[in-house]
Amino acid sequence: MFLYFLLIVAIFSFPGPVHAYIDPGAGSYLIQILIGTALGGAYLVKNFWKNIIAFVKNLFKKKPSE
């Protein structure tokens, strides 16, 4: 009897993604976050270098002020 009670408690405390029409899968959420973070990091690094390069290019383009 107590086991059934535990089971019911366990089922109802399963958080899961709320209001999901389809099952996104716990593993899928996690891998997405991992990939997103890694890509986001790579994107920031790429952006960082892009900005550096743009800044340097700008220095050489600057005309002496009249």
């Binding site: 366990a10 405390s13 399963f14 958080p15 899961g16 993604p17 209001h19 999901a20 029409y21 389809i22 099952d23 996104p24 899968g25 716990a26 593993g27 899928s28 959420y29 996690l30 891998i31 997405q32 976050i33 991992l34 990939i35 997103g36 973070t37 890509l39 986001g40 994107y43």
Partner: protein
């Protein structure tokens, strides 16, 4: 008189609404459950933008009295799609374009504060060679920090089959016939060659994805322990990454017997154009609104119908021929043509729940007219089908028939008989006419000048 309402059998999973048919029109009931999101779809400008980009089906609001249940918020009418096709009937590039469209839609959705709730390939239909989203209730308000709920589905429906077709074999997209929610990632991971582990994108979205699915399959209440939020920027980056991954998947086109068909036929140029003229003439007699060209190869004859503004399904079992057909239609922005992969000897079955969700080829008919050109010998000889069985099936799926009889002396038939015993004593024009006359009335026939073949125009009895 009570007009009949027919519910769409595949429209049951979503509490947001459902599709039904009445008096030849297509309606979608939007339920109260979806009210906020439906209003946001319009208010945010997303619908307008998608319509402008030709990525979504248009709709118009109609009277709420048409609703078929009490929890309706409103009812909308959508245009009828001339032929519903399924992902396993698409060639490689059709699936690829559908994938790209889905991602483009998701990108636009995010830009308007919304997100796709699902990314199933069945939400896309082709209209004039353009992939279009037909599920208008697929959007929800974007929640800051939420990962994409449809990511798994996208990988299974689109990324996995495309990767398998590109890296292993073009025929593997046919696995979608069996797996109605896309190819399981662990299966795709096992089938893909080892070198894909060195492709960072495929390794992430397929291989590692499959591993984390298995690892966290029974995560239960431990789920809260893990960080489950994803910034908007990171989400956008993932969508971009998936886009470029899809873009990078290409086919290694090999030549097949039949894509050479039109260079190695036994037709002279003049008999080829003579055949075209007769087909044109017969189409003018029948005046069909829709045509299925069966065994269409690269769609040379399908285009006689489609150029004449008749909606034409251009079907062939050779995936590469359909691929070439689609690419040409896409490049030239052709209308009224839908190239599809269909094996007549084993056409798409009814599938899904209770075998009613996805309709068989026959259930999507009958069509006004079939073109069965250079086909009969493949069915009768390669597939050992008696004429009568072929005639009966054609009469069940079509109201009219333009069919070419290919005699035994024809070099193409001789080619088919080259390596087998000729058990086809019945195979001659007399028994052909006799068998077909059981189901059709022959209203015209003409021998193609410069060949031994005869074209027939028939009407179902």
């Amino acid at each position: 008189m009570k007009s009949s309402i027919v519910s769409e059998e595949s429209s049951f999973r979503d509490p947001a609404g459902l599709v039904f048919y009445k008096d030849g029109k297509v309606y979608r009931q939007v339920n109260n459950y979806y009210k906020a999101n439906f209003d946001l779809l319009n208010k945010s400008g997303l619908y307008k933008k998608l319509l402008k980009e030709r990525l979504i089906l248009s709709f118009k609001k109609v009277g709420k009295s048409l609703a078929i249940s009490s929890d309706a918020y409103c009812v909308i009418e959508v245009p009828k799609i001339p032929f519903i096709s399924y992902p396993h009937e698409w060639s490689f590039s059709q699936l690829k374009d559908a994938a790209a469209a889905t991602l483009k839609i998701q990108k636009l959705a995010l830009a308007h504060g919304m997100s796709l709730r699902d990314a199933t390939a069945y939400n896309i239909q082709f209209i004039d060679t353009k992939p279009v989203l037909i599920d208008l209730l697929s959007f929800e308000k974007y929640k800051e920090g939420a990962p994409w709920v449809a990511y798994r589905q996208f990988c299974q429906h689109f990324l996995a089959p495309l990767a398998l077709a590109s890296y292993k074999d073009i025929r593997l997209t046919q696995l979608l016939k069996n797996y109605i929610d896309g190819i399981p990632l662990d299966l795709a991971s096992k089938l893909l060659p080892k070198k894909t582990w060195f492709n960072l994108n495929l390794a992430s979205h397929i291989h590692f994805h499959a591993k984390t699915q298995q690892r966290f399959a029974s995560v239960g209440s431990d789920f809260k322990k893990y960080k489950t939020s994803l910034s908007r920027e990171s989400l956008n980056t993932i969508i971009e990454n998936l886009s470029s991954t899809i873009r990078s998947l290409k086919l290694n086109l090999n030549k097949t017997e039949w894509s050479h068909y039109y260079s190695f036929t036994n037709y002279s140029k003049s008999s080829f154009s003579a055949k075209k003229k007769i087909v044109e003439k017969y189409l003018k007699i029948i005046k069909p609104k829709t045509v299925w060209d069966l065994g269409a190869n690269t769609g040379e004859f399908s285009r006689i119908a489609s150029f004449g503004k008749i909606f034409t399904v251009s079907a062939d079992s050779d995936v590469l021929a359909v691929e070439k057909n689609y690419l040409e239609a896409k490049e030239k922005n052709e209308r009224n043509l839908l190239p599809l992969v269909v094996d007549l000897a084993n056409p798409s079955p009814s599938s899904g729940w209770a075998n009613k969700e996805r309709k068989s080829l026959k259930e999507r008919g009958p069509v006004d007219c079939i073109l069965a050109l250079a086909l009969i010998h493949h069915l009768a000889i390669s597939n050992n089908l008696p004429f009568e069985k072929i005639a009966k099936f054609f009469s069940e799926i079509s109201k009219n028939l333009i069919i070419e009889f290919v005699p035994k002396e024809d070099s193409q038939v001789q080619h088919l008989l080259a390596t087998r015993e000729d058990i086809f004593a019945y195979y001659n024009i007399g028994s052909f006419e006799q068998a077909f006359s059981k189901y059709f009335k022959i209203i015209a026939q003409e021998k193609i000048a410069g060949s031994r073949r005869t074209l027939y125009c028939m009407i179902r009895k």
